[in-house]
Symmetry: none
Subunit: 162 residues, 4 copies
């Protein structure tokens, strides 16, 4: 085999390898269980470091529950709030806190919270995006202040990019 | 009695005393049926003395219904309100009236009442704490004015400390 | 006015007074809170004597919750079953066990349990009758065997006659 | 060292040992988040080894959701089934498969599934017990055959004992 052929084979191999990587990345339009666990654990770690007791929920691209954890002694009422935050964030691909600005009395989508068996429209719910920026799910955090919940949700959502 | 025997008895007494204290603390994680009855009856007595007709609900540490009474002629609609007040108070370990200050239009957790199959966020729901200050359940009172409901709930919640 | 007329008036007055008493008794077509407590306590005492852990619910003539107690360590799932047994018994003025004989596959009211937000059609729910035999509410017991539940419910229902 | 000192040290050691045991027993009334994670991961590992795709839910002693994971490509409909299996197992402290034997047409608690917002009465839900044998929560598995679900749930429930 001459050098040219060797080079050609090498190049084709490289192209296939690159394509394969791209294709692999392309089909990840839904969060995996491992990514969901990763988001849960990163969020939980952040909550523990900041002495906040939270419930953390992750939903997939279909807004269906993918993973959940309730930290010991966190609010019982936050189970449902965390799940609803995650679902709300995915239902409308939005930071739940931004949604809340539109749902107040006089707002353009006043009382939309009554749809979908109940939305939550204050901070703590965020879409989860993959490296290509595509939304693959969402995370909801409840139990701390709304600022703490949003900060913890942000850490969880970004953790899957590492 | 020689020194050895005296020492032995003293030590055994000490062990028993320490164990006894530890065990007492151990069993007070959840409200008992007798405590729940006590809270109901104290609240009902207070309502009768003040000529208020109320529904009274007690939930346990898991926010599950533990005890309930509806006074004759009290509002039928207050059955569910009293139960939801008790659950809300335990869901978020809070005086339901304080929760309501945060859920108004413009409030930081506006419309959270839509979560958990419906919360109640005006006064009349209170956590119940044991002598060690640990929350072991909650009480909800509905039927009077919100001030009356809160006052009656307070008497019910505190009654288990006597 | 002669003696005859005086007598007539006296007799009519007497009749009216007697009727009034009768009518007063007649208007108690709804269980009182004291009767509901009495039924709860009698049922609970019977359960304790037989070492059964149960939930006990009493509903009024309108099938609305009147009183409830969950014994320590009894089933969490029996909260709802006890309440539904009491409601079912009053909805159809029937021993819930008798209802169940009609709701089986092939039965004349197959799957009626799906109505009314869920009925319970096995033993443990019984109407509560006053001394005149009028149904004034119902009791539901859940946590033991169906025979135990029915026996305890019977004791609770009959207790208000004493 | 004289006899007195030896005795003193021995006694103190004994006290500490006894207290330690008592305290350990004290904190195991409800499943912890770490235990819930442990059960999830053990169950998931078993499912993967057996090429089964399942949803796994863990509830606490109050039957409230504690942890959850949905494996990639597992049934969407199994999210709710897994959660309801876990809740059912804790509601009645029972293997859900054993419950199902009693709820068939003609069974002594026919149609009890309609209570508690829907129970699941086939295998895959199991109480979780601590080392002292006390029920501290429950696990529900759904997605495989009922035999697989039960086997995976068993592994999850037992994992916390190690």
């Amino acid at each position: 085999m001459n050098l040219f052929k060797q080079l050609k084979i090498g190049v084709i191999t490289l192209i296939l390898a690159l394509l394969s990587n791209t294709l692999q990345a392309q089909i990840t339009n839904d969060i995996t269980d491992n990514e969901a666990f990763k988001a849960l654990l990163a969020a939980k770690k952040s909550a523990e470091e900041n002495n906040v007791l939270v419930n953390i929920a992750v939903v997939d691209a279909g807004a269906n529950l993918k993973a959940f954890i309730r930290m010991d002694e966190s609010y019982l009422g936050s189970i449902d709030v965390a799940i609803k935050k995650a679902k709300t964030a995915r239902y409308f691909n939005i930071d739940t806190g931004e949604l809340g600005e539109l749902t107040q009395p006089g707002g353009i989508i006043y009382n939309i919270e009554l749809s979908n068996n109940g939305l939550v429209s204050f901070p703590g719910g965020l879409p989860i995006k993959n490296k290509e920026g595509k939304i693959i799910g969402a995370i909801g955090v409840s139990g701390g202040t709304i600022e703490q919940d949003r900060a913890i949700a942000t850490i969880g959502a970004k953790s899957i990019l590492n």
